[in-house]
Symmetry: C2
Subunit: 659 residues, 2 copies
């Protein structure tokens, strides 16, 4: 080869540039600016440093790579193709952004091997990468350097850094001293609306330093500087930010350095001029042999490490391989089943958040994969249970994470830990503050991750803290969100069932909406996990009922009380507990019809009525709360808002009269 | 008086301490730590600096005060009582946290004069305060020092600083050099779960400096240092952070300095010991005469400034007083009405985001109160229209704000601007990213603020960007949220109507969910604002219909197309456009019944079916999208997900057959 090191790197980088520009051109849609600007950095990283195996994209001890600036997806697709990942062909590149193609507009986890995370919503990538880097350290502490010892690399732009979630995550990464996390900042001075300086003048270097990071500034088009920076970063005792001064759309003669190349195809003329400019005499999607060969060779760089790891993993045996294959320990929930039996025997009356704590004590001691935490509400969420140990920068051998008052980062870190594998994360906050982490929760659902949200204080039952702390619309908002299970258990047994389902839900995140206040035990048998059906007749006479009362969580006991009063009046009713609408929807139609019955229906829930019409039907009644809550003792609030036995009785009277 | 300056301040501060501790004790619920810790700072601020008039709590040119750490509400209630606000009595203090009381668990805007903002959800207060400070500068630039020239003060704790939203807002405040913003950080080293250092090691001083702030560190219990710091801050050319080293629960002998006094009553014994410790020989809720007199005198400090301002305001005349009284200019929407007529005449076919831009051009030129912006998507949201000028740190005489990639801060700043008064804020981003600002949107609704959310790219119509960019559950999630109007207009006329309603909606925020793709003009008349009714028959034969098709936004034209096809087959149908469910729900039952009709119903919406059962009824059909979207051209996605005329025809066939 005639190229010197830098020219060689440039030529390999140009392969990324032209695959990206041509694919975007062909699809008439996409974001060329970032792939062109960061191609040099990516080339040095992927040809000289990153530890991967294109033949085994899911290799557990690979370095993770998160394209936090997900709009630059063609950078990642180009890399995967060039490195020789089997799951992607040149036709996939040509099909960029077409329906059903693996090369979606933004990288979609699960669509294509080699994508470590779905990105696009800004700030999520860098934040979940912190979770990956934390998972790596936790598992390294458990299994040692030979089994788990890798870097997490991130590319992000100004967008990710302006999003508030990134501050939460950066601050946590610095606090936990995650020194194997290396972030490349595509410091190109451009955002969609123009020059960064129009909207931002934060000194990012100083900001990262304030958060305990190592920082390095380089020319992002100079391969030697890039290489040197990565070497330094790898040796740092802190997480590292490498600020890469780049030109957005590098190579595009007229659009380079402007926001014009951020989010639209360059145009045929500009791409032609770019070919001249970069001396790239090849047709679209044609990669010269020497370049492809060099890339493919780079893809094989880590083969010896891989083979060695395979041996070590085998030697480590089942305790390690089960964990990386997401296999739960046998009989992991045996004690949970016992807990249910005991609760029934003792008629245990506790808040479901307390029930959750009781469950967690049994789970944590049997399932080492479980890593819990809370956003500074451990004492309220009851998420820190006996036998747990907090992870610190000096000792990663714990299973509790103190997230601080950072709900959004907590959710994103949990996504990162679940993506990393070997960990089943749960995290707690008040249900109402789940709003703060909604973008990350949506990604849990979209990526089909086993993440468990422990959301306590689930209604006006919160009491004195008032409407800012009382969820009203939250149940509806998650029931409407695709791909997430929303549990609202009514007693200890249902709480344990929800935990069993959540821990076993390998491809769907779960929400556990739990009460602040005590709730009586309602279940009389725990022989079947009835919550798995989503809804079921929990009390009353299913066959002879003249009325059905539907409820969830804390209102199920209220419904049962009403049912008993109706019985005194000679009216037979049944109560349907609906802990999880999503699972109920998955039941056969016949089961659903049987549960809901033909009798008139009343729904009662201390939350928005939104969505309940589906179950009560045209003639049913809904006792709910369609405005905000208020500050006052919880029992008075229930009276005030008319979520009462009397209200159910009144509705029942009217419905039966109308009949 | 025998007290020297410091002892005098301490005695006034102790009045806050005991009102707080005793009220929390009586209500058996509340957060004493912060009021006790920050009483000295608050006393200096409110007796020596703050410009207010307890007789006119809403004085436009008063200094604003935001208790961002809203759980310390008793600090604020104590201050308002001591300063002599008429709206609060000692009985209100005694009724702390009781149902219906003005002294709610957290400060609730509108419950009690003198509360400048509802706080409690952490990070919101400091971020909205940035909006207040920005509003002040914008109106100062317009009206001059004599009419608008005041400070915005904030008290926040570590929680607010750890929340990501605060970084977005702090960064914006520094960028816009809002030097009349002064933030007191209650640097007490304690959070709910224990010592701050367990979850955070960020150097806050350095972080604020990186964001372009002036910083001062003081002993928060030393009145001289506090006074000196405020004086310096007032002269700064940058926003100022005053880091106040304090002891949480100052004065409580055993719990002071620990998380035990953060969120629970101190207990009778501790309060008694605190009385001894601070030499406070008065009964609960008793304030010694000299102390009360000193406080009341402090409340009158700014009277001369107030009287002077009244004169100036009168002299300024209607153009000023209308603005501060939220009176829109006469005939402000005349050109909007013309725009509707023109659109009908020309059958204008544009995306509703484009229609929104056309409306904005007419609005912005007639309503100076309107201040717009976008979170770095101006060119996509079409929120920056002809004649607008961007606000910069060097020139606040603009009406466009470049928020950067900071959706959450944008929403919070808008809340702050609306609270400040004199401004009607709107802000744009993609509908899907409204998730990022949901906690602030909830506060817009709870505080009943006129804030307008321009949310474009409202469905799978987004196309190639894929599921991370395609809202699915968002319509349902806002329809379920109390107190916010969710508009999804179908054409230019409905878009103009939505804008009219949003601008005139003085006590309710609005969402405008707008299409990326072009939509045909459907309305044939604009003589009445039909969107004001929430839903109405837009096409077809209302009386002879055998079928009703319900739709919103981009699917209304699809419904009309289906209706026409049905007509060809001799089946009479009507199409109901439902641009705003919330307004429809406010209509008389008779109107609602007439619109929905007795014929079988089909709903079609390119979003979650969640919530639609209410309108289609037990026998109706819903053509919707209950999973996530996908990446691909928009028209192909509609086909792929079956949101098509054919699907409506099929459902119609089945429904009519069943009949």
């Amino acid at each position: 080869m005639l190229f010197n090191c830098c020219r060689h790197n440039r030529r390999l980088a140009d392969a990324i540039r032209f695959l990206s520009a041509d694919a975007i051109e062909k699809s008439k849609s996409g974001h060329p600016g970032m792939p062109l600007g960061m191609a040099d950095v990516a080339t040095v990283l992927f040809t000289k440093f990153i530890k991967i195996n294109p033949e085994d994209a899911g290799w557990f001890d690979r370095d993770r790579f998160v394209l936090s600036a997900g709009h630059g997806s063609m950078l990642l697709y180009s890399l995967l193709y060039l490195l020789g990942y089997k799951d992607i062909t040149i036709d996939d590149i040509k099909n960029f952004r077409q329906l059903g193609s693996k090369t979606a507009g933004h990288p979609e986890y699960g669509h294509l091997a080699g994508i470590d995370m779905t990105t696009g919503p800004l700030g999520q990538g860098i934040s979940s990468a912190v979770g990956m880097a934390l998972a790596e350290r936790i598992l390294n502490a458990r299994f040692g350097d030979k089994l788990c010892n890798h870097y997490t690399y991130v590319i992000n732009g100004d967008g990710c850094l302006m999003e508030g979630i990134s501050e939460e995550a950066i601050s946590l990464a610095g606090h936990l001293r995650l020194n194997k996390l290396i972030v490349f900042w595509d410091n190109n001075d451009i955002t969609i609306d123009g020059h960064v300086s129009a909207a931002n003048s934060t000194d990012q270097i100083k900001r990262f330093q304030a958060c305990g990071w190592n920082t390095i500034s380089i020319d992002g088009h100079n391969p030697c500087q890039i290489e040197c920076a990565i070497k330094k970063a790898q040796k740092s005792k802190k997480p590292t930010l490498i600020a890469c001064k780049t030109k957005i759309g590098f190579g595009a003669p007229t659009k380079c350095g402007t926001s014009k190349c951020h989010g639209s195809p360059l145009g045929a003329e500009e791409v032609a001029a770019m070919r001249k400019n970069l001396k790239w005499d090849y047709a679209p999607f044609e990669i010269p042999e020497d370049v492809l060969a060099a890339w493919r060779k780079a893809g094989e760089r880590s083969r010896p490490l891989y083979e060695n790891w395979k041996k070590e993993a085998k030697a480590a045996g089942k305790s390690f391989t089960d964990i990386i294959q997401n296999k739960l320990p046998k009989n992991w929930d045996k004690e949970l089943n016992k807990l249910k039996q005991d609760a029934i025997a003792q008629k245990t009356k506790v808040a479901t958040r307390k029930a959750s704590e009781m469950c967690l004590e049994k789970i944590v001691s049997h399932v080492p994969e479980i890593i819990g935490g809370s956003a500074d509400l451990a004492a309220s969420n009851l998420t820190f249970v006996k036998g747990m140990k907090t992870v610190t920068k000096d000792d990663y051998r714990g299973n509790n994470i103190m997230y601080g008052i950072r709900e959004h980062a907590m959710a994103a870190l949990m996504n990162g830990m679940a993506l990393h594998g070997g960990i089943i994360p749960y995290g707690g906050t008040f249900f109402v503050f789940s709003d703060y982490m909604r973008p990350a929760m949506r990604l849990s659902a979209l990526m089909k991750l086993r993440v468990i949200y422990v959301l306590t204080h689930d209604s006006i039952g919160v009491g004195e803290d008032g409407p800012t702390h009382q969820p009203v619309e939250h149940l509806a908002s998650y029931r409407a969100m695709p791909g997430i299970l929303t549990f609202r258990p009514c007693d200890v047994v249902e709480t344990a069932e929800a935990w069993q389902l959540a821990v076993e839900s390998e491809h769907e995140p779960s929400i556990l909406a739990l009460s602040r206040q005590n709730l009586p035990l309602l279940r009389t048998s725990a022989s079947e996990n009835l919550s798995a059906r989503g809804a079921y007749v929990i009390a009353g006479d299913s066959k002879k009922r003249r009325l059905t009362i539907l409820a969830s969580g804390s209102e199920v006991s209220l419904a049962v009380e009403a049912m008993e009063k109706l019985k005194e009046k000679g009216i037979s009713a049944a109560v349907v507990s609906m802990p999880c609408w999503e699972l109920f929807e998955k039941q056969p139609a016949k089961y659903r019809e049987e549960v809901l019955g033909m009798a008139p229906r009343i729904a009662v829930e201390a939350a928005s009525s939104f969505g309940w019409h589906k179950y009560v039907g045209d003639k049913g009644r809904i006792i709910a709360l369609d405005g905000f809550g208020a500050s006052g003792p919880a029992d008075k609030l229930y009276q005030h808002f008319g979520i009462t036995v009397a209200a159910v009785m009144k509705a029942a009277g009217e419905l039966l009269k109308n009949k």
